[in-house]
Symmetry: C2
Subunit: 713 residues, 2 copies
């Protein structure tokens, strides 16, 4: 805790060389704030007396500003506080989340500029968050960030699971390497994307997962990215010091701010147990409480969609192949020749609606329903879509009526092609169109280069756009799932209508050449820490050429692994992404997708190791049912779990969907076995996991069920 | 006219070296289109057999495109047409406008690229317009303009009235020089502006007015600038060849297009009588007909405003001086200390409403009514205004009610500070707010650098924004008067709710150090050709220090010159810009401003010479009254006009407001004389015009009037 003796000394205006220390509630983490000899703010972080962050400097350079905001500070004031409370998310892994931290806020004064800067630290038992605050003051009103200089000095050449730093995409496979090896691996790690801008051979993205030689797991990310540019990390690979590297705007500036204001939180999750990392709620806790008064419109969604057939090339988003380019409001679609492969046609959509209704899904996503897809990406096209005009073969009203008659929603789709002004111009109409036609959720997309031209996907300007869409959607009681937007930073706590994001390599890449088989065992340690991902799992047919003879991609996953993802990749929005006919072929396995819950009272991480395995157990919200999911990585493994999360003395029926012994993500992905057993809180499971495999378990109280013939596990 | 023999040869696919010629309806202008030996399209223009445009090339460079669109063309087709019709503008200098031209459209094929390009020429008796058209074709869909290479090869080292080429402002005094002298005068011609970007020592803006040594007046401008970047002219001052220089976007690109599409028209007005230039309707004629179905909401507006007092520094737009910066939605204005100088307060606005009502004005403009003015420019501030929240001392509803009770409108003011995204986000609400609170006209402003950052005031992106505002305003039946927007190009024909623009150095500069006394004798030859200007004339107190002791600016104009502007600077929107107390001091002169019409059946330019003098006579719409205005330049002159525009045999009373013999814009600007005389169509007037002076005449039929004691002119 904060040392009172030090605070006292401040009253004598002693230069703030004495350190401020702060411990986490359970004492496992300790941080120290101090000013270096040159008046630079700096901090350290220790976990169980081991150094996690070596002395690391904090500060800024402003544009066209004579004084660097990096040195020459003195400590004017320091205050501490302790918070321990709970809050209930609208949806989540837990029905109640504890927010417990000790806080230190240091007020610094720079003699030369006479400016005041506050740095606020919040130390939780599982990590640290800190941010900069610029109070209202005469000496600092409008300012432009040239660079934020926040250091994270590592205590060793850790192992990292990283993706290349990039201003426009996070859709990369993760590389695992020592920090010192990043530079050598960078070029090969940058795979093609429709919009990408890398910036440094040692630049990586957050959230960045690391592990030290002595077994400490360290994760760096940010929380509450609002009207600021997205932070990357650039590594000094001689000193093993990361420094913040903000995403620039069209002119290379990194942020326009105006006091009073504050930066996002910079977060460092730390534990010697990897399960604590994936379970951490620091990032949510550092976000503001919910700002939506009436959240009754927000609900978890399990859905199917007219989507995978276009991703694989079996059908098309576009209605015609006849025109080299189309113009909204000009092209007369009633006069063009249809290509005969348009996925979003009435008949096909009805087929999905029927399938959704029959199998208990909430909704059907339909992409390619609206005009403009003939030349939708790669042209920096301004007025690319209008979001309100359907193709001739998609009858908005009839399909809405049909779906409603079966108690199914259609999920709206707003691909923007990165043309943010165009989307904003239509936004009010588009959301009103949704209100008028029975849509309550929208998937948006930002494929390709951002417009206004010169801006990046992750610059302040565009971050501000994504946030605008969230807030405008909330006004219309619309749930939003934004793809190709900036990676989430826990904003879904404040705006729980943000029920999903992409912002990582999702299942689509399995149809674009395949992802690494351990990709899904990295995501919970990285991408998912900021918020749920619309990963779109549930692929049962791994040979894509069966859908499209021209597409030879292979889904690097076993079928059982696909089932496990519904539990391991937490999201209130879960798709069953494959085609109805594939689910019909594997109806017994499909039963798990039909059964699995998507909102939870409790979550337990039973096993976790980055890139190797993640096993989670979750209790369905308001029910006694539990679901377990476990994914492995490149190699086969044996999972050992016990069921002590179950109510003591209660018997349950567990249905285990697992890889068959001969299963392999590449050669035999559809080999699975399903067995039913009785379990209780004393049960233990030893389960084979194939390469690229996994298993899923549904667990329901046996009371009132037919348990005849079932054996104990 | 088009030579039939040449057209015939095309059927044999002869390379298009044979020239296509076209004459204007009266034969005074003749143009020739041909292909150079290298297949470059080129044209010439002759006026009464004198060369106006020497052979000048036409073409484009596209970005990342292997084939330059400049050479290698063959003529595939050529068609001619003749149009002679009339149309009625919603408001204008004439109640009916004749559109009479011969047209030549050449279809060119580029062998290498297989692309087709159409160039369409329209030759009027007073000038030429031509544009490029890109038909829909497989070989050209999306493309990016690296540069448009449209040449205007001058036949001599003409005298030009020019302002520096600039991507962000037209608010410059005009320089008069030989073309060869532009380079030497450029640096001194670039005076300070809050946003300015010059690009070349020989770059100038359009409309560019020139005069040849043998007395031919030539004006280059453009018409129908829609979703394209604004054209400047860059001079090769060795060869005296101007070339189009488009305004770049944030990345330096000059336009994103998509076939089918067309460029704006490039216009060349030509005559040996300067009066034909100021009277030309080419630019309106080259724009599309009105696209607003119900134009009943559009009406001319004569107004006063809470404006000049802020411009001069007598009062302020801002409510408080207490804060270094404010934040919309954050700053609590009820808790700040007012500065006591806020102009838009209830009491002051009521005073203007009373004055407007008493003197027959339609409306009162009120600037500074809405929160955000404390740090409104110079900071690249994104969310700078919300356009819907009034300062605590401005009661929207009470003032609307008060104004309405006196049959006066309040003109809304939307300063955007160049923050176009912010304006677009609020636009729907802001226009609805106007509808809800009785406003039917808005003055918008774009002071300072454009946001998105990196864009320019005149780039395609921003041009597109201004157009969006016009069209959205029309949906709300709102009239728009945009300041600091791109200079007009006749779009008010298509969108007559665009009742005004600034886009040149307006009266405000008379309070910022003063404009050249002949400035108003240049504007009709340049800025006004594209559409009306909200010049805000009517300043009676030329010594600004009498309003604000700290402001020593002087208005370089006589009072009579100020009166003349209501006629010489045609606009359906005319302000009486000075303070009510100044009008009360000069009530006899003010009578002219009260009387003068602002919409016309007929207009005659009686005298005109760029930068020297302009004398116009206009017949009030639907009435028998005429108004004459005459402005001079730096030196005194004698104006000689006759009244043959009057109905024959009819007697009128003319009230002549003229400079007193001792008047001078600098030393004695308020010396004027008013006399009443009888005139008829045979009357002639010889009238003294002081340096920086002018005169104004109101002419009303004498029938039924008291003519006792009035002498014949």
């Amino acid at each position: 805790m904060f040392r009172k003796i030090c605070l006292a000394s401040l009253f004598f205006f002693v230069a703030g060389l004495c350190a401020q220390t702060l411990k986490s509630p359970d004492g496992s983490l300790q941080m120290e704030f101090s000013l270096a000899a040159d008046g630079a703010p700096q901090y350290t972080l220790h976990y169980k007396n081991k150094a996690v962050i070596l002395p690391s400097r904090l500060g800024f350079e402003f544009k066209n500003d004579k004084t660097s905001m990096q040195t020459g500070f003195s400590l004017e004031n320091a205050t501490t506080a302790t918070v321990d409370d709970k809050w209930k998310p609208v949806w989540g892994e837990e029905s109640s989340i504890r927010n417990h931290y000790n806080e230190l806020a240091v007020t610094l004064k720079q003699a030369e500029s006479k400016r005041t800067l506050v740095i606020r630290f919040r130390l939780f038992d599982d990590g640290l968050g800190f941010r900069y605050e610029f109070p209202q003051q005469k000496e600092l009103a409008h300012f432009v960030i040239k660079e934020e200089h926040t250091q994270f000095a590592m205590a060793g050449d850790h192992t990292a699971w990283w993706i290349p730093g990039d201003y426009d995409t996070q859709e990369y496979d993760y590389s695992k390497s020592k920090l010192s090896e990043i530079r050598g691996l960078m070029a090969n790690s940058i795979t093609a994307n429709l919009s990408q801008t890398s910036f440094s051979p040692t630049g990586v993205q957050t959230s960045l997962m690391m592990k030290s030689a002595d077994g400490i797991y360290i994760n760096i990310h940010e929380a509450a990215l609002i009207d600021y540019s997205c932070m990357h990390l650039n590594l000094d690979d001689k000193k093993m010091v990361f420094e913040s590297w903000l995403t620039p705007d069209a002119r290379g500036d990194k942020g326009y701010l105006l006091a009073p204001s504050k930066t996002p939180w910079r977060t460092i999750i730390v534990s010697d147990d990897a399960r604590d990392v994936v379970a951490s709620k620091i990032i949510l806790n550092l976000n503001d409480p919910c700002k939506i008064d009436d959240t009754s419109f927000i609900h978890p969604v399990k859905y199917v969609g007219v989507w995978w057939e276009m991703i694989t090339g079996k059908s098309t988003w576009a209605y015609t192949d006849e025109l080299p380019a189309v113009q909204i409001g000009v092209t007369d679609y009633s006069k063009v020749k249809p290509n005969g492969k348009h996925g979003a046609n009435n008949e096909n959509v009805k087929r999905y609606i029927d399938f959704a209704a029959e199998n208990g899904f909430d909704a059907v996503l339909v992409e390619g329903w609206n005009i403009g897809w003939e030349d939708w990406f790669g042209h920096s096209k301004d007025k690319v879509f209008d979001f309100i005009t359907a193709y001739p073969d998609f009858d908005v009203q009839a399909l809405h009526t049909y779906a409603a008659s079966k108690n199914v929603k259609i999920v709206m789709h707003h691909e923007t092609s990165g043309s943010t002004r165009n989307y904003e111009r239509y936004m009010e109409q588009a959301y009103q169109f949704m209100n008028d036609n029975g849509y309550d959720a929208v998937k948006s997309g930002y494929v390709g280069e951002i417009l206004p031209r010169g801006e990046n996907h992750y610059s302040q300007w565009t971050v501000n756009h994504y946030q605008y869409a969230i807030e405008e959607a909330a006004k219309h009681k619309i749930m939003l799932n934004a793809h190709e937007a900036v990676r989430p930073t826990g904003i879904c706590r404040t705006w729980p209508n943000l029920i999903g994001n992409e912002a990582a390599r999702g299942t689509e890449y399995q149809a674009f050449g395949g992802s690494k088989p351990n990709h899904v065992a990295v995501l919970p340690f990285t991408r998912l820490l900021g918020g749920p991902m619309d990963y779109t799992p549930g692929i049962f047919e791994m040979d894509i050429s069966k859908l499209n003879p021209d597409n030879h991609s292979h889904v690097n996953s076993t079928l059982a692994n696909q089932l496990a993802l519904y539990v391991t990749l937490y999201s209130p929005l879960q798709m069953a992404a494959d085609l109805p006919e594939h689910y019909q072929r594997f109806a017994d396995a499909f039963q798990f997708i039909k059964d699995v819950a998507i909102d939870w009272d409790e979550s337990k991480y039973l096993e976790a190791e980055p890139g190797e395995f993640v096993t989670a157990a979750r209790k369905a919200k308001g029910k006694q049912d539990w679901y377990v999911g476990s994914v492995g990585g490149e190699n086969a493994r044996t999972s050992n779990i016990n069921f002590d999360f179950l109510d003591k003395g209660k018997e349950y029926i567990a249905t285990i969907y697992a890889d068959a012994p001969e299963a392999h993500y590449k050669t035999n992905p559809q080999a699975y076995v399903i067995r039913k057993v009785l379990v209780n809180s004393k049960s233990k499971l030893t389960q084979f996991v194939a390469p690229g495999g996994g298993y899923a378990i549904s667990i329901k109280p046996s009371a009132g069920q037919n348990t005849k013939g079932l054996k104990k596990l």
